[in-house]
Symmetry: C2
Subunit: 550 residues, 2 copies
């Protein structure tokens, strides 16, 4: 038998855009067919986009999805592609008698051939942790579905199925599966790429199968799917992996589960963590802007590190002509704030304008007789109002530039510096903001380009500049200490006493934990932003606002 | 045998306040003992408050809960109450080998006697729909736990266990249970009280048991537990029910499952829907304010119906001395807006002040050259900034007065009229706001009191007054039509075509559905508010922002 050529298609669907997503699939099948593929595998829920959340509870949406996939099968056939086996992820509607008390859908992988949609596989292990709520919306499947092509036996699995024990994955060996086709919607997290390779290798070893692992790519609200699809043979050899943070079509010739060859040059080298994080943030921002049809973004440029990094990310995501900066100095703004903001804009080639806040601040401060924190918050709110006014007037998406550390301790003014529809640094701790800024500048230098971020924005002491001579460290512990305590409390979920036992000052720990707890109401009203860690704020960490536990 | 006296204790715990919640339990046990009770039953998770969300994933919290309940048992014994059987709900920590891939806790009911915590029952059916995420945080139990007292056999169940088929509830009859003790954390929804009675009666009939149904009472973030505990005998007779929206201690003498007598006069008459909704909103607001230690609330008074109803709710919740109104007229405000606001304040006896927005609006409008919608939004944002400034300066919680209809179609200015920490009308459609206003006035009249809400605020055409002569109906369909379409789309989850088939104008349906979908990003940043319907915005309805399905 000649080898069977398989294509792993790593595409970037938009949630709800059934026709657009399937048009892309059609193009990829055509391309794969031209390149001699006999089977094309797409990622989890590629027809509907992923995650669809409560769209899965709407019958009209499910019916439309089923219909769209049927039409797709017919169209493939009409274009002479009926002999290609296509495997793709899509929502399925469950017959009334098999529904759960609340779910009516399944997360399915269907087999398409000769113009027909053949019996599908339904995801068995439904993740209901972190950002996922799949018990809420899906009925679990319990059967392994396999098919033969030439001498080879293929079985379908979906994402979480290979992260948990038991279920259909445990039947691969007894089913004599040669190739497990794993359809994934696996979002980026720092270090997850390495864990995925290990996981897939373990599966290959345990069940004695080759594994074709296909992941989505693209940003969807707070998630960034990073692609990085994989082919691993039954001897656990990595045959090739797809691009990270970009669409890709990988081709392999499979003679047997132990004889698989990459058809063309395929990357197996991975870039370092800083590159990955930067590109995750860029893709998350780009897709949020483009998928929601915004032409441009606007953000305040304070001369500080957060807004500088946001602007640099926005330029990498959208190009400089789509990024608009606003310098909004007050009487407390230092000269360097203004000059650093203009230096940044010049380096990035973006539009910048100055809109002083003095007039409105003076008016309201006097009228309301505001003092101290109230007067400080007023400055931030007038800035927020200016940004939103320009956004309304000119049609830009407003970016909010706050970082994860700020959000954690509530070091921001709600309806002030927090305004905006997307927060690129939402899951980036302050110390990581600096690290990324330095990395991005070094990377530019390595490419022979000018550093995009002014050195002064990186090296000066951070300040909100809401009163004379103010610096962040007046009211917060040093950021390196603060970020370590936050990591212990938020990501590692340690209690106060456990954190103190790590050697941090007791009073500092109490203060930080108290600040985090009290800021829950503000976080609840914050913009979404791309998740890059194991514990992002938002649906990854669900805590009551009313909460007296300490 | 003499009858056994049982007390059903309907208390109002605060999430996380282990010592405070158990102190209340101790007081109720003392009171019940004085009144001759041999057994006292509390509601679901009364020790920790409910729902605890991801607190259930923190080992330190679980250990502290377990420890607190142990100490409670010891203290009961030390106070000479060791002979009383106490059944209460509390989180339990699960041994490592029995954990789910992500959950480490159980939602338990424990039996306390003689200073010891005896084996507990773990909730079997974990709700993972609507506002609940219990698969995320709990490991399901699978065993019915029973105990004997005198001649009677009691078995424990928790809330969702009786809403689903199968599991421990199906074993009551074969276990020869006389009395099922059902511990609940069942939030208020319109009409749910009737469904609960039916459910409990069905359980009694099917398993031939008497049922003691104990519910929490109180507001916890967006949920309002309404109490309304029940005792139903094995012949499905309603023996008595507890207060709705208030704490209560119900006493019954049980001779057998068919012979149960209420010890004192116990309500079984229920008030009408308007009374229930009003009291749910009052309790939700009061508890949010008090449990979060706010002394007072502040809100803008526009002279319109929404702010009038919010102010009346706030006065019923907190008393007039804790409510502060601000009239913020613009050049477009009609004379009646100002006079209606002052009339309202006078009727309610609350503080009101005038803070014009003219100065700051003029300043920014000119500086930014704003026109049309941008200029309209500016007015709302200056109002928001004024309210938040006063909140910061004086320590009030800001109430946001928007209603569910507005939130649905995005008819509000984000960071403008939407500012605030709590939204009393978040789940109240505009037509229901009017209905409640009329009801509240009638109710006052019936009690011989002055109507709190000015008739003019109820009867005049609603207007945002952001430009001359503007009324809401310039840009929205009539509210009675709009609310029906929204009910079909949001609560009943119908698709566009299904809604059109109900007889609504196609263009109107398309427009409304489009507005709802596009406003998702705004809703995501909105304040929480009390859920009173089967489908509230917030964690009850989880949809992607990036979503091209139409």
């Amino acid at each position: 038998m000649p080898p069977i050529r398989i294509a792993l298609a790593q595409t970037n669907p938009v949630v709800g855009d059934l026709s657009g997503n399937l048009r892309t699939c059609l193009e990829r099948v055509e391309e794969a067919a031209e390149k001699g593929a006999a089977i094309v595998v797409f990622a989890e829920m590629v027809a509907s986009g992923y995650p669809i959340e409560d769209l899965a509870t709407r019958e009209s949406f499910l019916n439309d999805s089923v219909e769209a996939v049927k039409n797709f099968a017919v169209e493939l056939n009409e274009r002479g592609l009926g002999q290609i086996v296509v495997v793709l992820g899509t929502p399925a509607i469950v017959a009334e008698e098999h529904r759960s008390p609340w779910a009516i859908a399944q997360n399915a992988a269907v087999l398409i051939r000769e113009g027909k949609v053949w019996a599908g596989y339904a995801k068995h292990h439904l993740p209901n942790y972190s950002v996922f709520d799949e018990y809420r919306i899906f009925v679990p499947g319990d059967q392994l579905i396999s098919f033969e092509l030439g001498d080879l036996k293929f079985s379908m699995l979906i994402c979480e199925d290979i992260w948990q024990e038991g279920g259909p994955v445990a039947k691969l060996r007894e089913e004599n599966t040669d190739i497990a086709l794993v359809l994934n919607g696996s979002p980026f997290e720092i270090d997850k790429d390495d864990r995925r390779v290990e996981l897939v290798k373990n599966l290959a070893a345990k069940q004695d199968v080759a594994v074709a692992y296909v992941n989505l790519v693209g940003g969807q609200d707070d998630l960034v799917f990073d692609g990085d699809s994989l082919m691993i043979d039954a001897d656990q050899k990595l045959i090739g992996r797809g691009k990270q943070f970009d669409q890709d079509l990988l081709l392999f010739d499979i003679t047997s589960k132990r004889e698989i060859a990459a058809v063309s040059e395929i990357a197996s080298h991975k870039q370092d963590d800083n590159w990955q994080i930067w590109n995750a943030l860029v893709l998350g921002l780009r897709d949020y802007v483009n998928k929601n049809n915004f032409k441009s973004v606007i953000l305040g440029l304070s001369g500080g590190i957060d807004s500088a990094v946001c602007a640099a990310l926005a330029v990498d995501a959208l190009g400089s002509h789509r990024v608009f900066g606003v310098s909004m100095p007050s009487k407390y703004s230092s000269d360097h704030s203004k000059s650093d903001a203009f230096d940044l804009a010049k380096r990035l080639g973006i539009n910048i304008r100055t809109e002083p806040i003095k007039g409105a601040v003076k008016e309201l401060e006097k009228q309301l007789k505001l003092k101290d924190t109230s007067a400080e918050n007023l400055q931030a709110r007038v800035r927020g109002t200016i940004l939103m006014s320009l956004s309304n007037q000119e049609g830009h998406l407003t970016l909010t530039t706050g970082n994860k550390t700020e959000l954690a301790v509530g070091y921001s003014t709600i309806y002030g510096d927090s305004v905006g529809g997307f927060a690129p640094l939402k899951d980036v701790a302050k110390t990581l903001v600096w690290q990324l800024a330095r990395w991005r500048n070094d990377w530019a230098t390595q490419q022979g380009q000018a550093a995009p971020i002014p050195e002064n924005s990186i090296s000066k002491p951070p300040s909100a500049e809401l009163r004379p001579g103010q610096v962040d460290q007046d009211s917060l512990p040093p950021y390196d200490v603060l970020d370590e305590i936050l990591d212990a409390y938020i990501e590692r979920k340690l209690g106060r006493e456990q954190i103190k036992a790590l050697g941090f000052e007791a009073a500092t720990v109490d203060r930080v934990v108290g600040l985090v707890d009290r800021a829950e109401w503000k976080r609840r009203q914050g913009a979404i932003g791309p998740k890059i860690t194991g514990m992002a704020f938002g649906r990854d960490r669900r805590l009551p606002i009313t909460n007296k536990y300490s």
